[in-house]
Symmetry: C2
Subunit: 380 residues, 2 copies
């Protein structure tokens, strides 16, 4: 095995762990905290809860809530100005992937200058970032664990992947009670995003024993717990989904992703498609495409999905992919690309963008834009 890196934040996990956010901010040297979140979290009362804890800890704070899903470059710029104007020194990102990625983008540009576009791709950040605490409100994006931030360049209509070890926050506070205020659809979409992180990282070209262990654990926990979590909302199942998302985050942050996320980012950039809805549509055809390059590993994934092996690796892998399709359909999500995108004529252009996404580098099988287009046609 070649040299592999494994880097994750300090994790504080469990019901009620949100209460430690004030102590954590203080430990990171905070005097004035920038809290980044969005409308949904405000309405659910979680933003109030966070600033109340900061008040109790006698910390100053300012709030920036102007974030939409697929966060935009101009929102980052606005956040950076706000951060500087108020002389903040620690950043808390609270929410799903969008507010957390926005918090990372603000931290990045506030400390490294320039525009967010300057950092697109891997390892282009050279100055340290201000201390960050991320608090996920969904069990899926893994942004609270990962060295990824995804921000939309509005002019180019591209979701840029920005990847750097310095984007790993100092502390991730994962409190599964935050999931209780989420709707069924969002829980399912986030969990299938995490499942996709797990599968793509498992077969990645730079997977390591450390990431593989986490990938398989994430797949196991999601398959076992998702149905029960959305049906009964019991805390034990929600907690397991949070653990799964965390494990998948550890895996993909260090092993990278693949063709599925490359396409998903381009779809999001071009059509503003909600990230979480793309995976049930794209993951099965991508797995079929990748199968020849990683048959043994796909069979191991298949075995977890099926709960048993078929005769031979290829048969087990293929049956696993079918089972995944059934699983997604049974969760009531869209399973065809035509349900998400109304204009197939722009798919070639989208696929030409996707081959430049940093996520494609670690895909186990080389893929041209024509390959990606064929996958999209299969998914149509």
């Amino acid at each position: 095995m070649d040299v592999r890196k494994f880097s994750i934040p300090e994790i504080i996990f469990g019901r009620g762990s949100l209460q430690y956010v004030g102590l954590c901010a203080r430990r990171l040297g905070a005097e004035k905290v920038l809290v980044v979140s969005d409308r949904g979290l405000e309405e659910a009362g979680w933003v109030d809860r966070v600033v109340e804890i900061l008040d109790q800890e006698k910390l100053h704070w300012i709030y920036f809530g102007d974030i939409v899903s697929n966060p935009r470059d101009f929102q980052i710029e606005k956040g950076v100005n706000f951060y500087h104007k108020h002389k903040a020194d620690v950043i808390i990102g609270l929410g799903g992937g969008s507010p957390m990625d926005a918090a990372k983008g603000i931290a990045l540009v506030a400390s490294n200058g320039g525009r967010i576009q300057d950092y697109e791709g891997a390892n282009r950040i050279h100055q340290p970032l201000p201390p960050m605490i991320l608090i996920p409100s969904t069990a899926g994006s893994g942004s609270d664990i990962s060295q990824f931030a995804i921000v939309t360049d509005v002019e180019r209509r591209v979701k840029m992947s920005i990847i750097s070890r310095t984007l790993v926050p100092n502390i991730s506070i994962i409190d599964p009670t935050l999931l209780q205020t989420k709707g069924r659809k969002l829980i399912v979409a986030a969990a299938i995003d995490a499942l996709c992180h797990a599968v793509e990282s498992y077969v990645s070209r730079i997977a390591s024993p450390f990431t593989e262990l986490q990938s398989l654990q994430a797949i196991r926990l999601i398959i076992r717990n998702l149905k029960r979590a959305v049906e009964s909302r019991d805390m034990r199942s929600l907690e397991q989904l949070s653990a799964a998302s965390t494990a998948a985050g550890m895996a993909f942050s260090n092993a990278g992703l693949g063709a599925e996320h490359a396409i998903a980012h381009s779809l999001g950039g071009m059509f503003d498609t909600l990230h979480g809805l793309v995976h049930p549509v794209l993951l099965p055809p991508i797995m079929r495409f990748n199968l020849p390059a990683c048959t043994t590993k796909m069979a191991q994934v298949g075995e977890i999905l099926l709960g048993k092996r078929r005769r031979g690796n290829e048969a087990t892998a293929l049956a696993g992919i079918e089972k995944l399709e059934e699983f997604c359909a049974s969760m009531g999500v869209q399973t065809r690309l035509r349900e998400l995108v109304n204009d197939s004529s722009r798919l070639p252009e989208m696929c030409r963008m996707a081959v430049n996404d940093a996520c494609l580098v670690t895909n186990p099988r080389q893929a041209s834009w024509e390959d990606l287009l064929q996958i999209c046609e299969e998914a149509w």
Copy 2:
């Protein structure tokens, strides 16, 4: 589940990863590095290799090699004076548990003042430590991953457990090629230390899904690879032992240990027993003692040790413990306490010390000093 913390260093793992030590030191802001190691590593040429890389990176360095196994309080003091005198700013610990724990002790006292004794126990460190890089030369101690440092108080003849998140180094560089210069006996002793970390952390009172996954992985890898690693010395098996030790380190650092390590530390303090030799002797009787408090988990450990289940949890657990005894015996290590300690009359005094060790707090079953004495008598 209650709130659980999980904190590990940035890990750079794999054959040849040592080459990155200079870049890592530079990234941590080094101008003058204190390298801490010992005679064995000097003789094997690894100290020369490290300082050669630092030279290439044009970093100044000073070398402190006055460390013995079970590192002493006065050695820490000497190292601290040396660190201050030369105005070092980053510390590299290279070796087995002893040089790495000594490096941690020096970093601690250099930044927090006082004597190493002031920090005995859990969470007593309040000031940040200088940046640390640890490079393990054995696959066992896990000091390069953990928040533990074990230092001997010579006057009291006590091995003090010092436990704090701030003792997690910034970076752990794990290069399995360093194992190639180690003798059979040391490889076995280190691996069984790691096995013990894995078992104790798995049944710990504060185990979490994150640590449990790593504990089981470590047990699996050691059982599968140790024989082959010592017989053939092939890099693949040595690499797997390194991965096992790393996994076990992630687990025990965050879940704690138990009665076995409490006794092992007291034996080391009183008789200067080599830490690695104690575990084959003590682990089986401790597992039998703990069995009623964690039967299901001990059965899962048993299943890995046996490669199959027996009828019922208790039978599986007990058969697993017997298998562990056979495994240790087949590795040619001492299996009776009388082979390590020549004076049984001091065991009661030793056990009275052991009940005060911080490791006992997370043992799954409450244990008095008389319980520990009975375990020692069973092991005699």
